[in-house]
Amino acid sequence: MSLLEIENLSLDIGDMPILKDVELSVAPGEIMGLVGESGSGKSMTALTVMRLLPHAARATGRVAFDGIDILSASEDQMCALRGDDIGMVFQEPMTALNPVKTIGEQVAEGIRWHTKATRAQAEERARKMLDRVGLPSAKFPLSRYPHELSGGQRQRVVIAIACALKPKLLIADEPTTALDVVLQAQILDLLRDLVTENRMGLLLISHDLAVVTEMADRITILRHGEVMEAGDTARTLSAQLHPYTRQLAQASMHVPARPKTHLAGAAKPLLEVEGATRDYSGRRTSLFKRAPDIRAVDDVSLSIAPGQSVALVGRSGCGKSTLARMILALDRPTSGTIRFRGETVTGKSEAHLKPARRDMQVVFQDPYGSFDPRQKVEKLVAEPLHVLDKNPTRAERRERVAQALHEVGLGPRDLDKYPHEFSGGQRQRLSIARAIITRPKLVVADEPVSALDVSIRAQILDLFAELNQKLGIAYLFITHDLTVARAITDEVLVMHEGKIVERGKTSEVLDHPQSEAAQALVTAAPDLHRAMARRMQEQG
C-alpha cells in the first residue's frame, strides 16, 4: 500500500497550465526521486501535496495521503497533517528560518503545536532532534539564532523541524542545491539515515540526476508538467527507453570534444600569481577591539600558459572567488603580485590597466544578474570595447557585436533585444560574447554553468571548448562541480581554506586525489556513472 498516491493530477495557476496528469506514488520507507529541469513543475507537485499553493492555483485529480484525500481536505485537517505526518525541507536554508527566533523555539514550536506537550517537554524533544541531525548541545544550544549558523547547519535545523514528529512522509525540495558538494553528501547521508530509522517515505526533488540516482529507489522524470518516464531507478536509467531520459542522462555526463589539449610548460606564462594574499579586517567586537583579520586567500601562487584551460576547484568559502577578483584587478591583494603577460597588474591605476583589461575578460555565474536589464544587447555586449585605445564608431561597434554574437551562436537580429527576451542559456551565450569581443587572451569564468539546466549546460560547455580551440583563449574555470572541471580543463588547482593544496593534470588529480581536501571533494561529488554502477551491482 502506498503512503502517497497521486493520480491524474493537473494544476493550473491562473490561465497557465503547470501540471498535466501527473502520476506518482511513495511507499513507506521508500525514496522516490522526482527529477526535472527548471519549469518542469516539480516544486509545484510538492506544494500541492502540502496544499501550500499560491492563491490562484487550481488542482484537479486525486492526491491521497495515508487514506486522506488531500485535495478535498479542510484547512484544519491539512494543518493537522503538515509538520506532523508530512514534513517538508526547502531549497534555500539561508532564508528558511525565522531570523528573530532561536533554533530551539523553531524546532519546539511544531512539537508543542501538534502534541500539546509542555514547553519543557517540547524543548527536550527539540534538543534530542537537534542532536540527531548533528547539532550537539555543546556547540549548538537551543538559544542559538539562525544568523549564528552556516548554511549547512541551518539546513540541519530545517530537517530537524521537518522530522521532529517522525513524519510518515518527508518532502525534500532541492535540499542540497544551495550547498557545496561536501555538505551535500553529509545532508544526503542524514536524510537516508532518517528514512531507514523511521521507515519514512521520502519524496526527493532534484534537478541533479546523479544525486537522485544515488539516493532514490524509484524515479519519476518530469518535463513541462508531464511525467515522461517512471520506474525503478537502475532499470529506468540503464534502459533509457524514453528519449528524454536518454537526453538527460547524456547531458549529465557530457564531455565536450577537445581534440588538442594544451599542456603547460612550453610557452611563457600568460598569467602568473605569486604569493597572493588577501586579508579582510575582522569584525569589531567592541569599541576598541576587532576580531583578528580573516585571511581569505593565503599565499597563493599559480601560472597559466596561453591557451591553457585551468580549473580552480574548492568548497564554498574557500577563497576561490576572492582570488578570481584579484586576478581580474577588481580587488587588491594585501600582499603578493599578479603578472599578466609579464607585466605587473597589482596596484595599477584604472587608466594603466586598460591594456590588461583588453586581454582579460570575465563570465559570471548568474545569467540573469549579469546584464543591466535597461540596456539593449548591442550596448551590453559592446561594454568591454570601452578599454580600446580608440573608441569604435557606431557602425564598427555594431559590426563587432554582430561578429561576437555569431561566434556564440546568436544572430544579428538579437542586437536590438533586451536581456529579458532571452532564456538562461542564451544569456550565458551573451555573457560569453561580451567576454570575447575584445579578443582576450584569458577568460575567467566564475561558476559559468552551475545555474543552468543540464541540457543547456552541455551546450555551453561545448561552446567554451570550441572557442578555446578556435580563438586560443586560456580559461580559468572557478567551480565546485568536478564534472565541469573534468569536462573542459587540462589542469586543476584544488583550493582549501585560502590555500592551494593540490595541483596537477585534471584526470590525475580527480582520479587519484592526494590531499585530504581533494579526496573529500572527489568522494562527495555525485557521479552518475558511479551511482548507476552501484545500483546495478546492488540489484545484481
Binding site: 484547512e75 509538520g83 526547502f90 534555500e92 532564508t95 528573530v100 539564532y145 569599541l287
Partner: protein
C-alpha cells in the same frame, strides 16, 4: 550589544551637538536686534548698547555659544525678551499642554493603525482590506488642520459636544482639560494612523512572502498563528522606523493644530516667538524639540536591537 548601544548613543550625542550649533548659527543671522526690540524704536543707541552688554550680546560668538549651550545643559535657558520671565518657566507651562497632546495623538494613532494593518494584511485582496486601505489612502491625503476645522464644525459648532478651542488649564480638573485636548489629538492622530496602517500592512505582506513563513506553514501552523507568531515581530522594524519619524511629524503638527484650537502649547509659543523675534525662546524650544526627536530615534534604534537578534551581536 554594548557596542551597538554605545555607537548609537555617540551618534545621538554628536547629532545633538551639531544641531545646537546649527540652531545657534541660524538665529545669529536672523535679522533684528533683540535689545532694540525690547526697548522700542525710541530708545537711544547708548541705551541699546547698554542692554546689549547686559544681555551678553557683545561677547565673542564662541563664548556666547558656549554660554548658551552650558545653560541648556543646566536647564537654564535664559529669560524671554517679550514675556520677561525665565524661558524654563514658559516651557514648563506650555509643555503641560503639548506633551499630553502629542502622547495622546501618538497612542491613538498606534492603537488604530496596527490592528487595521493586521486586519488588512490578513484579509489581503478581500473586501475588508480594500475598504480599510481605501480609507487609509484618503486619510493620508487629508491635511490635519483642515480635518481639525471639520471636526470643530461637526463636534463643537453643530453637536456642541466639546469646546471649539482654548484650554481651561489642568487646574480646572482633569476632565475639562482632557476634553479640550480630544479634538486636537484626533485631528493629529488620524492622518498619521492612516500612514502607519499602510506601512504595517505592506511590512506584513512583505514578510508573509518570506521563505520562513512557508517553513512555519509546513510545520502545521494555521495562517493566523503564522501571522501572529512569525510575521508580526519581523514586520515591526519598518513600523518602528515610521513610528519614530511620526513623532517628529506630530511635534511639528502641534504648531499648526495648537493654532487652530488656540491651545497655549509649545507650538504656539515658538510660532509667536518667531514672529516677535524672541530669539532666546525660539532657540530653547527648537533645541528641546530637536532633542526630543533625537531621543525618540535613539529609542527606536534600541528597540531594533530588542526585536532583531542580528543587531545585538554586531557593530
Amino acid at each position: 550589544m554594548t557596542t551597538y548601544l554605545l555607537k548609537r548613543l555617540a551618534i545621538a550625542f554628536a547629532t545633538l551637538v551639531l544641531a545646537s550649533i546649527v540652531v545657534f548659527a541660524v538665529l545669529e543671522i536672523l535679522p533684528g536686534d533683540p535689545a532694540r526690540l525690547m526697548l522700542g524704536m525710541n530708545a537711544s543707541t547708548d541705551q541699546v548698547e547698554l542692554l546689549r552688554n547686559q544681555m551678553g550680546l557683545n561677547a565673542p560668538l564662541v563664548l556666547r555659544y558656549l554660554h548658551w549651550a552650558g545653560g541648556l545643559l543646566s536647564l537654564d535657558f535664559g529669560r524671554s525678551y517679550t514675556y520677561s520671565v525665565p524661558v524654563i518657566d514658559l516651557v514648563r507651562e506650555r509643555l503641560a499642554v503639548s506633551l499630553p497632546l502629542a502622547l495622546i495623538a501618538l497612542a491613538l494613532s498606534t492603537v488604530i493603525a496596527i490592528p487595521v494593518g493586521l486586519f488588512s494584511a490578513s484579509r489581503r485582496g478581500r473586501a475588508g482590506d480594500t475598504i480599510s486601505m481605501g480609507a487609509a489612502q484618503l486619510g493620508v491625503a487629508v491635511p490635519n488642520f483642515w480635518f481639525a476645522l471639520m471636526l470643530i464644525y461637526v463636534f463643537a459648532v453643530w453637536l456642541r459636544l466639546v469646546p471649539a478651542g482654548g484650554f481651561p488649564g489642568w487646574g480646572a480638573g482633569a476632565w475639562p482639560a482632557l476634553k479640550s485636548l480630544l479634538l486636537p489629538a484626533v485631528a493629529l492622530a488620524l492622518p498619521q494612523a492612516a500612514i502607519l496602517a499602510r506601512v504595517t500592512r505592506s511590512a506584513l505582506i512583505e514578510v508573509l512572502n518570506e521563505d520562513y513563513i512557508r517553513t512555519a506553514r509546513a510545520k502545521g501552523l494555521p495562517y493566523r498563528a503564522v501571522l501572529w507568531r512569525h510575521a508580526l515581530r519581523n514586520a515591526m522594524i519598518p513600523v518602528l522606523t515610521i513610528l519614530g519619524l511620526q513623532f517628529a511629524f506630530l511635534l511639528a503638527g502641534t504648531i499648526i493644530i495648537e493654532n487652530v484650537f488656540y491651545l497655549p502649547g509649545l507650538g504656539r509659543l515658538v510660532f509667536q516667538a518667531i514672529t516677535q523675534r524672541d530669539l532666546i525662546v525660539v532657540e530653547s524650544v527648537v533645541m528641546l524639540l530637536v532633542a526630543a526627536v533625537i531621543a525618540v530615534n535613539l529609542l527606536v534604534d534600541l528597540s531594533y536591537a530588542a526585536v532583531d537578534p542580528r543587531l545585538r551581536g554586531r557593530r
